[in-house]
Symmetry: C2
Subunit: 363 residues, 2 copies
Amino acid sequence: MNKRKILVPLGDKSYEVTLEAGILNNISEELLKIGITKNRKILVISNEEISNLYGEKFLNNLKDNKFQAKMVLIKAGESYKNLKTLSEIYDVAFEFGLDRNSIIIALGGGIVGDVSGFAAATWLRGIEYIQIPTTLLSMVDSSVGGKTGVNHPKGKNLIGAFNQPKAVFIDPETLKSLPKREFSAGMAEVIKYGVIRDKELFKYLEIEKNKNELINLKNEYLIKIINSSIKTKSHIVSQDEHENGVRAILNYGHSFGHVIENLCGYGKFLHGEAISIGMNIAGKIAIEKGLWSKEELERQKILLESYDLPTEIPKINKEDVLTILMGDKKVRDGKMRFILPKEIGAVDIYDDVEDSLFLKFFS
Amino acid sequence: MNKRKILVPLGDKSYEVTLEAGILNNISEELLKIGITKNRKILVISNEEISNLYGEKFLNNLKDNKFQAKMVLIKAGESYKNLKTLSEIYDVAFEFGLDRNSIIIALGGGIVGDVSGFAAATWLRGIEYIQIPTTLLSMVDSSVGGKTGVNHPKGKNLIGAFNQPKAVFIDPETLKSLPKREFSAGMAEVIKYGVIRDKELFKYLEIEKNKNELINLKNEYLIKIINSSIKTKSHIVSQDEHENGVRAILNYGHSFGHVIENLCGYGKFLHGEAISIGMNIAGKIAIEKGLWSKEELERQKILLESYDLPTEIPKINKEDVLTILMGDKKVRDGKMRFILPKEIGAVDIYDDVEDSLFLKFFS
């Protein structure tokens, strides 16, 4: 079966993720299926690169089917994920006459998705939106779960909202135009799901044949791992939408990932690459605390590296590490919380990690 | 009894409005009662005028009780209810170290409340906040119901979120420092509740003695009408939080009110004054459609005027009226919807009002 559907069960905010090669070419049909009627205005938010690849065809498909659609492009890059870009979207929304019954579609990677979802959360106090992620990272992570927002000059994602999409459509075909390095970065999050909850996925990724087929972007294999990743994410998010508890485990590798992104300058490492290094650090801490086995830490390292991900910790000043960690919004009541593995497929949340325990890994 | 509590029943978002003269002097006690522990940071958002009157005492009460509190002032006036002011609040939030467990308190009128509620909705994807309205308008209207947001250069409240407060505290004593004209403007919303749902309140307001006591700001009388107003609002909001149906009746008088605010220049009429004129226009349309009696329209006019509110329609170009009405976000699928009275205490929503029917009232 080439089409997969994954339910994200969140009461009256539940929605489905539809995963199918080529789905982008039949977008109007999919919209009609989920009850988007043709009298509703659609604002498609994308960026130049994605728009050059799929924009015209996508928009034409909507217009040929009598949808009243318009596309607005935002600049690519983390530095444009800010209030100014949001403000530009509001201007277009006003000019286009986006009303309470209209809908926003995010067509692009994580930045497009996050900004679009937040625009939808806040235009006229909230209108519906749909995620169509085009990068591996956004397919397995940000497009599902409703975290939306923009950056504050002092920190990533400080401004935002929990806002679940009405639907998510994923077309693995779009990965064929994704730079190899970004594909690898997305694999870091896939491997993360393996470590935190899905031993079978981890083992699947270790198998040489699967690895080759994935790197060659075979749809069947891509669908398998995307499906598994989203299933895990859906399961966790449905238990704890607003990250008051278990959802935090999705941040495995992220605290140190943010440290690395911040201190090495945004852009040196891609998000997924920083997460890969962060997972390695978290693993080392777990060893120090006697939680995990060295053999499994080594398996994690080998798997990350086999998908061309970095694991070596860059040179970073210890004091800077502490400053960033303390400023991280995952701190609660002044206590730093870390997600540490106990075995492949199981992690837990710890707030009793001594600074000295992780600072030794930095120079 | 001098203390009133009104429940706003919204499932796990339910909260209480506490109404008591002098409650501002015991704010720490009230916070502790609703479970705000002293380790939580509190950012108080206010404006200069309110801060000059109550700010120091308020902050000292918090600090004397070992709360970690800070106050930030925003500029008064509709033109500062924008993304830039919001951005300044985010900067203070960052510097103060506002975390997920922190809380925002809005101390002031409707603008302070709307901006604060939206800041709370969007800082770290949402933290808790408390409304302490200090104007009659915000006590009976904007502090309850969770509508928060800022203006877009092209229109009021286009950017925002539904975000219910954790609690609302109302101290009628603060009305003693409110300019007479603003008190009257607030009375327009109180009278509105009479017309849309509460015939008893309407009759109460008509009684000469009550009117005099209200104008003299007698707490007992103020508490009576604020309590009645909030009860009606609470009842309606709990049926339809996101204004997909019945909540729209709270906008009685507002469509034409917005037209008047827009076209006469913001500032010429206060919001409540524009609503008063809007209610008179809505009443006239109801007469034209044969829904309402001329006697009751006259009673509405006399009541509004007896609280020093304007009812006469200013000179406005017909075409401009249409432009503003069509741009109003209450338009759904291109249809204009009007709230029209059938009798004092009962209104309904109509989407079949011919343009000619109301344009005749404009010159």
